[in-house]
């Protein structure tokens, strides 16, 4: 290759090099597959990529009724790495199906206590100054089975209603300012255009703080099941309030008391009262490897313990791991970057002696909040609050290497 600046290859050189590499890859090979490997083949190039055929992790789908359209799918946390969940494996929770929306026809109506009620097309929305932000999205009901004593058998079933996503969109505050928000506006009702016109009342302080109108997910357009073409993202707040397929924002002076903020997503305490407008997801952590339903090599040896921690109130400050049933705890290493309201991966080097062990993690966020045990949570809230259950989840590693959940005594 000839270049006047060998140390800094120009664009043309790279193109040439790329074409050469492409030609090399594209050349059919006559060698027979051996050792489970096949040589490169041009047929493996796809306009829209897929993972290796050897990779099988999938979401676990749970329909909640015989009617199609309401249910959830859970992220296979035990099979994933890092702080961002692949879009194809991001958890879902739908209350009335996934609508098919032509983005050229989609509109966002902003009205109510504003100087100028406005209608935005998707082109309008994308013309506003944009930002990208990595944060977690979690269903308010994640892991609620363990509170009732179900002792969910694996981390996909227990904690799979959380995912980490890089969202791209426009800060909601910019759009509200464009419409001229009136001081009397205390709440914002966000409404989807799905079959049940899912609606939630959002305090105006959150709308003006870090709320986003999102059209991008992990570098491409939102997936249909994540609200394509437009959704609300409220970093750190329960998933249901992050209204998908967003069609309307009504600025008002009182909450609507919609079914999803009264009948559902409220926490019934043991005294019979229920807590309402409990939005933030408090800090929690869980070990994803080794975890329930999996098997590790039996006998003494090294195993890295992997897990995730996150808090809807800020950054994760500390994660501790116990490998002796909670008697002693040691600090885990946090994977950088540790971001505000984002999944934070942690790891802990474990020299297993090969004997039965109970392993678990606990975390603290930057507010000083400590993740509780199940006993501490139940003592405060009883058995029926359901949503926002964020207690420590232990796993039992048997001498055989099999990992199970730890039975819960109610």
């Amino acid at each position: 290759m000839s270049s006047p600046h060998p140390a800094k290859p120009g664009r043309r050189d790279l193109l040439v090099a790329g074409a050469t590499a492409l030609a090399a890859c594209g050349k059919p090979t006559e060698s027979a597959p051996s050792d489970g490997q096949t040589a490169g083949n041009a047929a493996n190039m796809r306009p829209y990529g897929e993972r290796s055929a050897f990779e099988k992790p999938v979401r676990a789908i749970r329909m909640l009724s015989a009617s199609s359209g309401t249910g959830s799918s859970r992220t296979p946390l035990a099979d994933l790495y890092g702080m961002v969940t692949p879009s194809s494996l991001t958890y879902e929770r739908h209350h009335a199906g996934v609508p098919t929306i032509d983005p050229s026809k989609h509109q966002l109506l902003v009205h109510g206590l504003v100087d100028r009620p406005l209608v935005f097309t998707m082109d309008d929305i994308r013309r506003f100054p944009s930002v990208s932000r990595i944060c977690f999205l979690e269903c308010g009901g994640n892991n609620l089975g363990d509170q009732r004593g179900e002792s969910t058998p694996n981390v996909q079933q227990s904690h799979g209603l959380v995912s980490g996503v890089q969202w791209t969109g426009v800060p909601l505050s910019i759009v509200l300012r464009e419409a001229g928000l009136k001081p009397a506006a205390k709440w914002m009702i966000a409404e989807g255009v799905d079959n049940c016109r899912m609606a939630r009342s959002i305090p105006i302080a959150k709308a003006l703080d870090d709320a986003l109108l999102v059209y991008g997910q992990n570098g491409e357009a939102l997936r249909p099941e994540q609200g394509y073409p437009l959704r609300l993202v409220l970093p750190g707040w329960e998933g249901n309030a992050n209204v998908k397929w967003l069609g309307r924002l009504n600025l008002v002076d009182q909450p609507a008391m919609s079914s999803k903020e009264t009948a559902y997503y409220t926490e019934l305490r043991s005294d019979g009262k229920a807590e309402i407008f409990s939005f933030a997801m408090e800090a929690r952590s869980v070990i994803t490897r080794p975890s329930g339903g999996r098997k590790i090599a039996p006998g003494p040896g090294f195993h890295q313990i992997d897990g995730l921690a996150w808090s809807g109130r800020g950054k994760i400050k500390l994660v501790e791991v116990s490998v002796d049933g909670g008697t002693t705890w040691a600090k885990a290493e946090l994977q950088e970057p540790v971001l505000d309201k984002a999944l934070t991966a942690f790891r802990f080097p474990w020299q297993w002696d090969g004997r039965e062990a109970v392993i678990q993690s606990r975390c603290m966020d930057e507010t000083g909040y400590l993740q509780p045990t199940r006993e501490e949570l139940v003592a405060a809230r009883g058995l029926f609050s359901g949503y926002h259950y964020n207690a420590i989840k232990p796993w039992k590693v048997l001498a055989s290497g099999e990992v199970t959940s730890v039975p819960i005594v109610v």
Partner: protein, 181 residues
């Protein structure tokens, strides 16, 4: 000195307000009053948003049987694990077996109207005219013993219905857990 400071603050506030009220990007078009009226179906606890109309449990029984009973069962008892119960459980919330239904848990009758109007029947929502929604709400409230069979619900009377759990909700008290380390 203080006067100067106040003037400066006043000027800054004035500038901010003026800035806040002027569109910065000039994006979007003005929404027509008609399209706002059509889209704005939200019903609030004080009755704001309720359409003019009326209904009662007598009329509601027929509507319920044809539109709701398939999933929620003939007397609103629901189908366990699939479709929520609408009836029963009143007084159970503080016990060891709380039963959450429209009757026992929902704090506002307006929410029942709003929910049916925006989401029900599940497989074909947005087809019930206001009078049918009022009647369906009346029948569900009647099955719960909250109103009489002949009581009329309309845009004036519906917000006045006091649900059994009207005072059962309290603000988020978190962080609420005492953790010992």
């Amino acid at each position: 000195m203080f006067r100067l400071l106040f003037s400066a603050v006043g000027l800054a506030v004035f500038a901010w307000v003026a800035f806040a009220q002027a569109p910065v990007y000039g994006l979007g078009r003005t929404a027509a009053p008609d399209e706002i009226r059509k889209a704005d179906t939200t019903v609030f606890p004080d009755g704001t948003g309720l359409p003019v109309g009326h209904g009662d449990a007598v009329l509601g029984e027929a509507i319920f049987n044809s539109r709701c009973a398939l999933c929620h069962n003939a007397k609103g008892e629901g189908r366990k694990g699939e479709y929520p119960a609408l009836v029963g459980g009143i007084g159970s919330l503080g016990t060891k077996k709380p039963v959450k239904t429209v009757g026992s848990y929902w704090p506002y009758a307006t929410t029942v109207f709003d929910h049916i109007n925006r989401a029900m029947p599940f497989n074909s929502p947005h087809i019930l005219p206001p009078n049918d929604v009022y009647s369906a709400v009346a029948y569900i409230l009647h099955l719960n013993g909250i109103i009489g069979k002949g009581d009329e619900l309309n845009e004036k009377t519906l917000p006045q219905v006091k649900m059994p759990n009207r005072d059962g909700f309290v603000p988020d008290s978190r962080p609420d857990i005492k953790v010992k380390r």
